[in-house]
């Protein structure tokens, strides 16, 4: 009896291990998406006035940088993409194409700034790439919360939340950039945690919301949390790649 039991357990465990990130995906984020801008409108749809950092929980150190913003200088220095880094790029009104680059890499192509983000499932590389606008994004299908943080059950009662439908992404190794197009800064010590959640509306529309948590010990006194919403489109016919712009 015992040998059969062990064979069953081993084969079951082997079957679980064989699933790729793509196969294990509890939600399907692939497709074409458009950002719907109903919040932070004038900070996203237009370039806000110099010095306007409303809603951002910035430290006094950031104010000097905010007031010194000079788009012409950024242009001259080839820093047009400073506002298109991972902490901010999802806030820029535009369209996305999401697809699987391979079984363990989810790719997001953004038409604004012609940016590409790669979400890597699995172990991080031994040598991390150099800091970049998009940094390195480590992804996983979010596990249920556990007091011990290791996903194992604690205590003798059954547990909630065994079926998460969220994508969790942690991004590091960022170049310093702007949280907004008008020069509200984040430093190269900033990290980003994102949660992608998919839902359907009764009318048939499919949406996802990304909750973005930017932590920056240099410029933010508390994590900066935004939620950005995208609606699925039938195709990518309106996907309109445009270069980065300082304005």
């Amino acid at each position: 009896m015992k040998p059969l039991l062990l064979i069953f357990l081993i084969s079951g465990a082997a079957a679980v291990r064989a699933q790729s990130a793509r196969e294990a995906a509890p939600i399907d984020l692939t497709g074409n998406w458009v950002s719907i801008v109903t919040e932070d409108w004038r900070w996203r749809m237009t370039t806000p006035l110099k010095g306007d950092a409303a809603s951002i929980p910035y430290k006094p150190e950031a104010r000097k940088v905010i007031d010194a913003w000079d788009p012409a200088k950024d242009d001259a220095a080839g820093l047009q993409c400073k506002a298109y880094g991972a902490p901010a790029v999802m806030r820029i009104p535009g369209r996305l194409r999401i697809s699987w680059q391979d079984e363990s890499t989810l790719k997001i192509e953004l038409d604004q700034g012609r940016q590409t983000r790669l979400f890597h499932f699995g172990a991080k590389p031994f040598q991390m790439p150099a800091a970049s606008w998009q940094g390195y994004s480590a992804a996983r299908w979010e596990a249920p919360a556990s007091p011990q943080g290791n996903g194992l059950p604690v205590g003798i009662s059954p547990r909630f939340g065994a079926h998460s439908r969220s994508l969790e992404v942690s991004t590091t190794d960022l170049r310093e950039g702007y949280l907004r197009r008008n020069g509200v800064p984040y430093s190269d010590k900033a990290t980003v945690t994102e949660y992608y959640d998919l839902f359907q509306e009764p009318g048939g529309d499919t949406w996802f919301t990304v909750t973005t948590v930017v932590t920056d010990p240099v410029y933010l006194y508390t994590p900066f949390v935004t939620t950005t919403d995208f609606r699925k489109e039938p195709d990518g016919s309106i996907f309109s790649p445009a270069p980065c712009s300082t304005r």
Partner: protein
């Protein structure tokens, strides 16, 4: 003994792998709203004439253009009016969420929310009950039922009283319904709200907002009593602007250096391609001088007056 222990360990392993995936998340606790988006609108308040990003129709536009903010003091019945169930999730005050547990089955049957502002209370039923019929009274918070989809709670609310989409006169009718999608990630709660209003919207209005768990918060009472504070010029006086006469509708464009056309809102203003249509501001401006440091360390709740009000 070792063999017996190994056998029981195997049983435990099987039990773990076969545990049904209960699709519930605990939302209970004290939550503080995060105002990292639209802080000036959500705390000091939206400015007159600002309909940017709202998919409103002409009827809503005229209603909002006619709105006179005196109405909420002169019409004393409005003084203590709370937010609707949809708007209350935009924050403005802290929230406490309690689980309502059936004492016999110990199953969760509802979530009960309470906001500090105007002591707004709401029940979200999870027991598959029916919504009331069309003749039942409407309430500010409406009637809400919900279902789980994995770790997301999807809520549907009907039976709302007439209220507003923004506190600058943008109306929301009593025929509106709204859905919500609640997700908790660690100590963050995200609530997505989608309002469908056949009277005032051409498309659903979707907004999302976040809360952070705040166990140290203390929610007291907020008891409102209304009173006639401003004498009315006549008994049947209701403040409003005649159509096309409201002088305040373009202030926002001047304050923020915007083209005045963007203020009029409409569904097209929600889409990225609208950026190509935004004209030049009638009164260009270079530097911010209003609400510039809202949310900063020295002005976290934006209660300090703008640097210049005009």
């Amino acid at each position: 003994m070792i063999r017996r222990g190994g056998f029981f360990a195997s049983l435990a392993a099987i039990a773990m792998s076969l545990t049904p995936a209960h699709a519930q998340v605990d939302f209970s606790g004290a939550w503080a709203p995060l105002f990292h988006e639209d802080l000036p609108e959500r705390i000091p308040g939206p400015e007159l004439g600002d309909y940017m990003g709202i998919p409103l129709n002409d009827a809503a536009r005229l209603r909002a253009d006619s709105y006179d903010a005196d109405r909420i003091s002169v019409v004393s019945e409005y003084q203590c009016r709370p937010h609707g169930g949809d708007y209350s999730m935009r924050g403005l005050s802290n929230m406490r969420i309690d689980a309502v547990i059936d004492p016999v089955t110990q199953q969760l049957v509802a979530w009960h929310t309470r906001m500090g502002f105007q002591e707004m209370e709401r029940t979200i039923w999870l027991d598959d009950r029916q919504h009331p019929g069309p003749l039942a009274p409407h309430t500010w918070q409406g009637f809400s039922t919900a279902r789980w989809d994995g770790n997301m709670m999807n809520v549907y609310t009907t039976h709302l009283k007439e209220n507003y989409m923004r506190r600058n006169g943008l109306p929301r009718s009593d025929r509106a319904t709204f859905t919500e999608h609640w997700i908790r990630h660690g100590n963050y709660l995200t609530v997505v709200t989608v309002i469908t209003d056949p009277v005032f919207l051409t498309e659903p209005l979707e907004r999302s907002q976040s809360w952070v768990l705040d166990p140290g918060q203390r929610m007291g009472r907020d008891i409102c009593e209304y009173n006639q504070e401003v004498p009315k010029p006549r008994p049947d006086y209701v403040p409003s602007h005649m159509p096309d006469t409201n002088p305040f509708l373009k202030e926002v464009a001047e304050w923020y250096g915007l083209a005045s056309g963007v203020l009029r809102g409409g569904a097209e203003t929600m889409y990225p391609e609208y950026r190509q249509k935004i004209g030049k501001p009638e009164q260009p401006k270079e530097k911010c001088d209003r609400y510039c440091n809202c949310g900063a360390a020295d002005n976290p709740t934006c209660l300090v007056a703008p640097r210049s009000s005009r």
